[in-house]
C-alpha cells in the first residue's frame, strides 16, 4: 500500500520535472531565436581606425576577408563594396560600418617557437545600419590568431564571426 503510494508520488514528481524541463527548454529556444530582420543586400564599408593605428595590410585584409566571408556565409544575395554605384539602387540595403576598438599585433615567429605566446588579436565594433543611417544592430567582435598561422589570420577569424552574426540576424527578403 505504502509502496504504491510512494510509486505514484514518484511518477507525479517525474512528470512535473519533465514538464518543467520542457517548458524551460522551449523558453530558451524562443530566447535563442529572435525575429530576423529582412535585408536583400549588404554594403561593406572600409574599417575606420582613427584612434588606434592599424597597418595597411590589416585594413585591406579585414575588408577583403569580410567581403569574401559575407558572400560565402552571410546569407544575403548581394554583397557590395565600399563606393559601389550599383548599391545606390538596391532595395532593402543594409550597410556594415566597422570601427577598430583594439589591436595587438603578435608575432608569428614567437607563436611558432613557443606555441602559447605571440597571439594577434583585433577587436572591431560592427554597426549594421539601413540606407538612411539608422542603426539596426551593434556588436563588438573579436578576431584572434593564437597558435598557428600568419598574423593576418586574425582578420579571417573576425570576418567569419561577422558573417555568422549577419546570417543569424538578417534573412533575405522574399524574391531576392
Amino acid at each position: 500500500m505504502t509502496g504504491n503510494f510512494v510509486n505514484r508520488i514518484g511518477s507525479v514528481v517525474a512528470m512535473a520535472a519533465i514538464t518543467l524541463c520542457g517548458a524551460s527548454m522551449t523558453g530558451a529556444q524562443q530566447k535563442a531565436t529572435p525575429a530576423k530582420m529582412k535585408a536583400a543586400a549588404i554594403k561593406v564599408m572600409l574599417i575606420e581606425s582613427n584612434e588606434i593605428s592599424l597597418p595597411a595590410e590589416f585594413q585591406v585584409s579585414l575588408y577583403e576577408d569580410l567581403i569574401a566571408q559575407l558572400k560565402k556565409k552571410g546569407g544575403l544575395p548581394h554583397v557590395y563594396r565600399d563606393g559601389d554605384r550599383n548599391a545606390d539602387g538596391a532595395s532593402d540595403l543594409i550597410v556594415l560600418h566597422t570601427t577598430l576598438r583594439g589591436f595587438k599585433e603578435g608575432s608569428e615567429k614567437l607563436r611558432q617557437v613557443t606555441t602559447v605566446a605571440g597571439a594577434t588579436s583585433i577587436t572591431v565594433h560592427c554597426a549594421f545600419t539601413d540606407k538612411d543611417g539608422k542603426t539596426l544592430l551593434e556588436q563588438d567582435l573579436k578576431g584572434n590568431v593564437r597558435f598557428f598561422g600568419a598574423n593576418l589570420r586574425a582578420t579571417f577569424d573576425f570576418a567569419k564571426k561577422t558573417a555568422q552574426l549577419t546570417r543569424e540576424s538578417f534573412s533575405p527578403t522574399a524574391g531576392t
Binding site: E57, S61, Y63, G83, D84, K104, L110, V113, L152
Partner: protein, 172 residues
C-alpha cells in the same frame, strides 16, 4: 705580346659581363618582380606566386596563363611594409613542425625578410578593392615609385616610407 693578349682578354670579358648585366636587367624589367599575391586581387587565389610589373598605365600581375591588370590611375593608395617568413615554409615547413625533439620550433628561428606592398584601388563601378603582395627585400619601394610615376596615389610619400625601419616582427 703577353700583355697585349691579356688586355684583349680583359676587354672581351668586360664586354661579355656588361652585355650579360644589361640583358638580365632588361629581362627583369620586362618580366617584373617575383611576388606572392597574399589576398585581394580579383580573380586570383590567395597566396599565388607570380610576376608583378608596372606596364604602361597598368599594374600587371601574371601567373602562368592568368593575367590581371589594374589601371594605375585607379590606385588610391600604395603602402609598403616589412615582414618575415620561415626559411623553410610551405608544405615542407608544415611537415618540419612534426620533426622530433622540437627541431621544428628551432627551424622557425631561421627566417627570411620580406617586403609587403599593399594597394587600394577602385573598379569600374567605383567599388573599393585591396590587394596585398609580398616580395624580396628592397623591391616594394621600387614598385611603389614606379606606380606613383604612372599615376597612382599614396598617403605615405616614398622617401618617408623608405626611411621607416622594419617594424613588423616585434616582441609583444
Amino acid at each position: 705580346m703577353m700583355r697585349r693578349y691579356l688586355k684583349r682578354v680583359s676587354v672581351v670579358v668586360c664586354v661579355v659581363m656588361l652585355w650579360a648585366g644589361v640583358s638580365r636587367a632588361q629581362a627583369t624589367a620586362s618580366a617584373g618582380t617575383k611576388v606572392t599575391q597574399i589576398k585581394g586581387l580579383s580573380g586570383v587565389k590567395d597566396k599565388t606566386g607570380g610576376m608583378l610589373a608596372v606596364d604602361g598605365s597598368n599594374l600587371h600581375f601574371t601567373h602562368e596563363q592568368l593575367k590581371v591588370d589594374v589601371p594605375t590611375a585607379s590606385v588610391e593608395d600604395v603602402v609598403t611594409g616589412a615582414d618575415s617568413q620561415r626559411l623553410i615554409h610551405g608544405t615542407l615547413g608544415t611537415l618540419t613542425m612534426f620533426a622530433p625533439y622540437e627541431s621544428g620550433r628551432f627551424l622557425s628561428l631561421f627566417r627570411t625578410k620580406l617586403d609587403t606592398l599593399t594597394i587600394k584601388y577602385r573598379d569600374s563601378d567605383g567599388g573599393l578593392h585591396g590587394a596585398i603582395f609580398t616580395m624580396g627585400t628592397g623591391k616594394a619601394e621600387l614598385l611603389k615609385k614606379d606606380l606613383l610615376d604612372h599615376g597612382a596615389h599614396s598617403t605615405v610619400p616614398v622617401d618617408e616610407n623608405a626611411a621607416k625601419p622594419a617594424t613588423k616582427e616585434q616582441k609583444p
